[in-house]
């Protein structure tokens, strides 16, 4: 895999999923974070859509956090071993990123307390429904059986970053909780999480 450069702010945000994938498989990449000398505003015109994260591969810039996550997962063998397994992974990832993630924004950045509360209620409802369904999709130790995939990592990040905000507990979903526990015990991830820059988000 070519040496890739990931460009993002010094936060976890939309880049952390990608960083976790590299960490899980202990594969090196350049983790570039904007600061007062290396500014996002200067970098922005070089990006495909004026947004970050961006992954630079062989001198070409690629945007969209989930497209990048899927590419990196593919390169690292985390998208399943067949087209149907990849479909299963994609379906689970989308259930989180398409159906639930957008609701989280309003909880944190909603214009009024009312909007924030309504968003939290809705997100909670959708999450419960989704997680009940996801519990039935676990096929052994992980979603695909014995093989970890992007689907497991997204549950892991969701459980740690988002569930507290929603007031939900992963333990209500035993198979999903087992996946999260297994990834929490993973040496590579433990190491990475212990040593990554500490940022509020």
């Amino acid at each position: 895999m070519a040496d890739s450069k990931l460009y993002y702010f010094n936060t976890r945000g939309r880049a952390e999923l990608i960083r976790l994938l590299y960490a899980l498989k202990d594969v090196k990449f350049e983790d570039v974070r904007f600061d007062d000398t290396n500014k996002f505003e200067d970098f922005k015109p070089k990006t495909p859509f004026g947004s970050v994260p961006v992954l630079e591969v062989n001198g070409v810039f690629y945007a969209q956090s989930m497209a990048i996550a899927r590419y990196v997962a593919r390169e690292l063998g985390l998208m399943g071993s067949s087209s149907l397994q990849t479909l299963k992974v994609d379906m689970i990832v989308d259930a989180i990123t398409v159906d639930i993630f957008p609701l989280l924004k309003d909880i944190i950045w909603g214009a009024t307390d009312e909007i924030k509360a309504a968003a939290k209620t809705k997100a909670g409802e959708v999450s419960k429904k989704t997680f009940t369904a996801l519990e039935n999709l676990v096929s052994g130790d992980y979603f695909l059986g014995s093989e970890v995939s992007l689907a497991d990592i997204i549950i892991f990040t969701f459980a740690i970053e988002a569930m507290p905000v929603l007031g939900l507990a992963i333990d209500d979903y035993p198979k999903l909780a087992k996946i999260v526990a297994a990834l929490q015990e993973n040496e590579n991830l433990k190491n990475y999480i212990a040593n990554r820059p500490a940022t509020p988000m």
Binding site: P48, F49, G50, L55, V57, N58, V60, Y62, A63, Q64, M66, A67, I68, R70, Y71, R74, E75, S83, L84, T86, L87, K88, D90, M91, V93, D94, A95, V98, D99, P102, K129, T130, A133, L137
Partner: protein, 202 residues
Amino acid sequence: MADCKLYYFNAKARAELTRYAYAFKGVSYEDIRFDDTNLKFEEFKSKTPFGSAPVLEVDGVMFAQSMAIARYVAREVGLNGANSLENLKIDMILDALYSDLFPLIINVFQGQTDEIKAAAKTKAVESIQKTFGNLETLVSGDYFLGSDASLADLAVFNLVNDVLPLLGLNMDEYTKISKIVASLRENENIKSHLENRPKTDA
């Protein structure tokens, strides 16, 4: 590829990209649409992974999520690029259209007051123009990937042909994208699909 069954409402909306993928490559599948008599969504719902549609049934197993399905079908029919980086380019374009723009467009129609709808429309149009300006620079020859059409081209066709007109938008000022749309419109398989598909508002 096993014969697949695509289940959705009688609408273009979130299923049409997958239908375009099958049509463009001339691959057959069962295009099942819910109705009030033979197949009610409310009765079918419990068989789906998340109680949602579209759903693709492959060898008796149901898979959900419209974009996951579209990507699978693209892989199977050969619309996913020739390698992992082309796949990434396609995914980036799909996400710009369906993750970023689609929700803004939906807000225009679901707004609860005329005021909210108008504000949503202004925001959507601004984002659409910014995104299409950027997409224009990603066209690499006849299509996004060069000489061969991919799911990314069908996606932009779906937006320009089916969705943006609902906002009164045409994208003629984007010349490379317009060229892609025109080529696909002239493609025999797409022409046939456009002529024969059920007429629906959205």
